[in-house]
């Protein structure tokens, strides 16, 4: 019985198929909003789904000089990592299926897995576009990862716990966006960096390096990376809105809060010009990291002096 529940939670609800479908829905909202901001019409509601069906049905072309185990294994790892991360977050405003002390660290680690896999996938092929894309992906990972982690650490500090469900519970009574505004901004921008959305899309800048690390991927492999990214989008939105936007309790609040967050991310995406990789790194370490550190310092002092 227990095994069956585990399988259902992992593969059907809330992770697994439901999460993938939600990812497609959020991707559609994002694409549509950006399209509207750019004076375009945008895709119809089933477009992400149609893309998935089409790509999954297509042949996956294997390049001649690669390690085949890595080539076929990496997309699976990426998707598995993203789906597993969903087990620890209050997805759809429900209590996380699994919860343990320190699961915030596990979730952030699992969320980095797709990016690491994409980096390795680029390194695995001999395509020059992939190699440069992989270098950029990993460089960017080192740029945003620490500030993003620090931005999520702020709420954890005030809640006095490393457990996501507890932080979520604490946040339901405290709108941390008001007390830690810098942390919120860094978290949102960090999420955009994590998802390689514009202006942080240098790793897949098509006018320079075609599709970056994924240039050699087609069919199923490409789609699995894509789905991992969509799942990451939903999980990232859940994390940031549960920490900063007054917690998540119930599906209605979940939808409202995450979609508002996505709306702001779409505005930023359409307003900003792509950053070069050196500019991205400079931005994160010169501003992002220092600002969020100052925020954490203030939080620690506040906690220390005002019990």
């Amino acid at each position: 019985m227990n095994t069956l529940t585990s399988i259902v939670t992992l593969l059907i609800f809330p992770a697994g198929i439901t999460l993938i479908l939600a990812g497609m829905f959020y991707e559609w909202i994002d694409r549509n909003l950006v399209a509207r901001f750019q004076n375009r019409v945008g895709p119809r509601w089933f477009q992400p789904f149609a893309d998935a069906v089409k790509l999954l049905a297509k042949e996956q072309i294997k390049p001649a000089i690669i390690n085949p185990y890595l080539f076929f294994g990496l997309p699976i790892f990426a998707l598995a990592g993203a789906l597993t991360a969903a087990l620890y977050v209050p997805l759809f405003g429900l209590a996380p299926p699994h919860s343990l002390t320190g699961d915030l660290v596990i979730t952030i680690y699992l969320l980095s897995l797709p990016t690491m896999c994409i980096g390795l996938a680029g390194w695995n092929t001999t395509s020059r576009f992939s190699l440069i894309g992989a270098t950029r992906t990993l460089t960017q990972l080192f740029a945003y990862e620490a500030p993003f982690l620090l931005a999520l650490l702020g709420p954890a500090l005030v809640a006095g716990s490393w457990q996501i469900s507890e932080i979520n519970g604490y946040a339901q009574n405290h709108w941390l966006i008001l007390t830690q505004p810098i942390g919120f901004i860094v978290a949102v921008i960090g999420l955009m960096g994590k998802l390689e959305l514009p202006p942080f899309d240098a790793p897949e800048a098509e006018t320079e390096i075609v599709a970056g690390a994924l240039t050699e991927y087609s069919g199923r492999g490409l789609m699995m990376f894509h789905l991992a990214k969509s799942a990451e989008l939903v999980i990232g939105l859940t994390l940031v809105s549960s920490f900063y936007l007054g917690g998540l309790n119930g599906i209605g609040l979940f939808l409202i809060k995450t979609i508002i967050l996505l709306f702001f991310m779409s505005i930023l995406q359409s307003l900003l010009t792509r950053l070069r990789i050196d500019q991205t790194v400079g931005l994160w370490w010169r501003f992002g990291a220092i600002l969020v550190l100052a925020q954490i310092l203030v939080t620690i002092l506040w906690k220390g002096f005002m019990p």
Binding site: Q38, N39, F129, P198, T207, E208, T273
Partner: protein, 556 residues
Amino acid sequence: MSTEQKLQTAEQLLAPWNKETIRPEENRLDVVIQPEALHEAASALHEAKWGYLSAITGMDMGVEAGQLEALYHFCNGPAITSLRVRLPRAGAVVPTIADIIPPATFFEREIKEMFGIKVDGLAVTDHLFLPEDWLPDVYPQRVDFTIEQAKAMEVSHADQMPEPGRVGENTFVVPIGPQHPALKEPGHFSFTVDGEIVTAAKMRLGYAHRGIEKAAESRSWVENLYLFERVCGICSHTHAMAFSMGVEQLAKVEVPARAQAIRELVAGLERVHSHLLWLGVTAHEAGFDTLFMYSWRDRETVMNLLEQITGNRVNYSANVLGGVKCEIGDEQSKAIKEGLTYLETRIRHYLEVVTTDAMFLNRTRGIGTITAPEAERFGLLGPTARASGVARDVRIEAPYGAYVRYPVSLVTETNGDLEARCVVRLKELLVSCFAMRSILDNMPEGPLTARMPRKIPAGETVARVEAPRGELFYYIKSNGGEIPVRVHVRTPSLCNWVSVLEKAVGRQLADVPMLIAGMDPCFSCNDRVVTVVDSRTSENWSWKRLREYGIEYYSR
């Protein structure tokens, strides 16, 4: 200094090597020199800062004459001095002048491949236009070239492995093109990168070479007008205008004032269309898609206007030899004015965006800076040169057609970076809009066309027009027949390539697409021979067959 004085100065400068002086037209001076003297003569003009090298025209005088000619055109305002070098058909050699005038490299590579004029001392020996496995001693633009000669090299390379591209420990060659998302047309660049920094750059053209110059030699003057209109899909009007201006000069036909005004009007609209398109492409290369979408949306306004006036959106076909085809009535005039009002507000808005948007400026300000002396040395043309503070605009230096009556003012910037190139192009549009309004307000009355003879009197002429990308150079030669003997087209993009190749070195790979886009390259302009091969029967189609296929296709 008047044109006459300029030409006299040039004649004095060239006196030591002068073998024969010809004055084909009022503003032109032809000086025949020996090939050995070419380098000294060119450097004499160059050192005296007498104009700039505009083009090198190759010519085959025929098998009986046994001679090739190379013409080095130097332009200085309206004055043109051509150094005419006569060479034997077998073993034609000229010294390179690229060491003193860098843009000559591309011109020299062109005459080397197309006419078999060996250029002594040319640093680059790769092909620029022709395939790498093109047969030696087959030169497509010589008069005795036949298509059978090209057949020998039709070998498939599909099974070949591409070169691995790893040069050193951390050094790679990144190929951009012929098929690449950054390029909307086929060209090939290979950038050697060390990490993210470009350390060497190379380029190659000819992927869409259609041999228009060669094709022109078997078509009547009228047919050629439509052929040259198809050199470029963006500046089609300027090509047709330059060709018809040249033919009218040869035939000594005066084009009616109204026709000239309409020509300038269409050229102005075309400039708006071209520059807005460019703005969108540049924004896309920078990863600023919102600007790309908006500028292309507004470009639709001008496309609709062009369609309303001429009936076509791309190859407007507004010109005929001796005038224009389309009338601007009250209705069109009103529509254009309304369109211009809208466009002007939008252009002002974009001008604000490109100069104030901090994120976009991150990618344009101080990037690819070309100083004025460098721009002179590279021989840059058009907005790319004007952004560096070089006042080079044919509409102002040597006004032609209606530009005498409705002048445009010169727009220059001094910074020479990508931002300056954006600003120059947008400000230029406001100037163009102003000129278009004055044309519409004071449109001269009269006929639209003048009568043209079917046979054009023998002679040779040069027509220069300011295309959206810079000076467009046409050299036309007639022997008094119904078809031209030689038409040479030098498009502005060819002159501006040097700036990309020189400026990419030392920059980040991410800046490269911006640098390429910054000069507004037009590959189809550079590439002018098509062989249509039926994929089922793999036979070459003749022009006649193509024409029949076209008629059949559209009558279905």
